[in-house]
Symmetry: C2
Subunit: 337 residues, 2 copies
């Protein structure tokens, strides 16, 4: 007599189908089995509504079907978007996601990695700015947005091309004098690539540019001061601004408004990230879009692939430009006024 409330096991399926336990296991795992057997097992599975007990499976196979995602937080739109798409990519492959918000705390990061080193996850996808993390060779690790070390695969957007694209767009849209703005808060070197790409793009188009990087103090008031100091007779000396992130772009747009500069008529603004903010179209700007779904897919793909290539790949995914109302282009959908 079977207990009331317990899920059916392979043994139950085997009894129901009149086959051996091992045969059920094979069917469940897609290992070829005589047609007559397979059909009977499949029927029994359907009839009993059998689902595999992944904990028994994990115990036996040392595979947990769980992947840890190390991410600073789940609230900034870019991170939230990564969480969302990685979650989808994992569920698609029947993997669970263990979410680990690290708050940039290297102690926590190391703790989670240690946990993974034990037997709790099959691998880690990590966005961390802490290069000193101790990661055992045996734990598959994929880095997002920052190359951790030579032997760890890394998936990033093509930040250099993104910077270049921003410069070219601004040039195409008639700018004659542009600026790159960035805060120094991020320790990743990817923003530097955005900057380098932007410089490169400006140079190749003969577009005069200025760089402003605020690393200390309150970036918002510092940027306001910076912008105010570039106003002569009510006019800003730039007519195009590239901000290192959309978050900064929003802030700059607000500052520009305060300084009576019209966006995009007086000055055009391009951000970076392109993560839609809680589906509210009021909070978009023209931007360089990071291909978050593709980044997510690629991370999961690399992490779960059977045989890691000897040379760990550095994947650099293409970015695109998207109009968002803060440049002179026409909206793709419909002009809203």
């Amino acid at each position: 007599m079977k207990k009331e409330n317990s899920a059916p096991t392979m043994k139950d399926v085997a009894r129901e189908a009149g086959v051996a336990l091992g045969t059920v296991s094979k069917v469940v795992n897609g290992i070829p089995v005589g047609d007559a057997y397979r059909v009977r097992v499949e029927e029994a599975i359907r009839k009993l509504n059998y689902q595999i007990n992944s904990y028994a499976q994990g115990l036996k196979s040392n595979k947990t079907h769980t992947v840890a995602l190390l991410i600073p937080n789940t609230q900034e739109p870019f991170y939230a978007s990564l969480v969302y798409h990685i979650n989808i990519a994992l569920l698609k492959r029947k993997y669970r996601m263990l979410l680990c918000s690290t708050d940039y705390d290297s102690g926590l990061e190391q703790e989670y990695i240690a946990m993974a080193q034990q037997n709790k996850v099959d691998g880690i996808i990590g966005l961390t700015y802490n290069p000193g993390l101790v990661i055992e060779e045996s734990t598959p690790f994929i880095a997002i947005d920052r190359s951790m070390r030579p032997n760890i695969p890394c998936v990033t957007s093509d930040n250099f091309a993104g910077g270049q694209l921003a410069a070219e767009k601004l040039a195409d849209l008639g700018c004659r004098n542009v600026a790159f703005l960035r805060t120094g808060s991020s320790l990743s070197n990817e923003p530097n690539k955005r900057k380098a790409g932007f410089e490169n793009g400006c140079l190749s188009r003969g577009l005069p540019y200025e760089m402003k990087i605020i690393s200390d103090g309150d970036p918002y008031s510092e940027f306001e001061e910076f912008l105010a100091s570039h106003i002569r007779e009510g006019r800003l000396s730039f007519d195009g601004i590239f901000c290192v992130t959309d978050g900064l772009a929003y802030s700059i747009i607000k500052t520009l408004r305060k300084l009576n500069q019209k966006v995009p008529d007086d000055v055009q603004v391009i951000g970076f990230d392109g993560t839609r903010h809680f589906g509210n179209k009021d909070y978009t700007c023209s931007t360089i879009v990071q291909p978050v779904p593709e980044i997510a897919e690629m991370c999961v793909e690399l992490l779960l692939q059977e045989n890691m290539p000897s040379k760990p790949p550095l994947v650099c995914l293409p970015v695109t430009y998207a109009y968002g109302g803060t440049t002179l282009e026409a909206a793709p959908e419909k002009e809203e006024r």
Copy 2:
């Protein structure tokens, strides 16, 4: 001889400490054991850096130490904040979180619940607007923000009090004519409580009010039309607006700006949620703050408590008002101009 790359097991600890397997299990699970034994086991655990294999544990005990979180998405700030705080509350108790983005898809929701019904999670915390979900009695379920049915515990903010608080605040700040704005997109009945509380507050203060609920069409242009129609000689007939969410508030503020109404001088705006948007202080408004960390704690607490009370609790947590620049109050920190 032990395999190189495998984690130490209880057996290893037992051998190292010279005690029986069961004794190690007791120590690990905090079951009292003779002091001398406990010390030796603890030492061995430290020496071998033993960590329990939660898959073996889950197999044996039918406890998975995993909780599923059903949530529409991870990107809207309120949801993102819930994810974050529930994640923390669970990790604190050594529970894993299985994140399930449902996109309001009842099929997906049901699928995840079925998965939980099998043996994959110990319980579910769910924010869903689908009252028809089939949930077995045996699966602990905590609803957020919407009472699913009488026998399922539910944790919400005190939406009624929040509406009331908004009305009182606006009255205190000198408003003489106010409006409640809401989109009809949400199927939850909690927004109705916000509305009811607001009405109640207005009535008790003798504050004339108007309600506008947009359920069809593009809410943004509809609201713009609505607001424009209430302008006489350049002045809006309201001097206070309560929006059902911060997201709507941002949108309304932008519309007001377009209509040349100054916030907060001409019209004050209060939103609802109080989730800080990606830590960017440019995107805050005066608001009724939902106590997300407390909601998260409460959900986890209720879900994991040993003996569920016979009468499932309906927990209603207190909200607070927070200044955010869109009302006439002074900023708590420092006035920024």
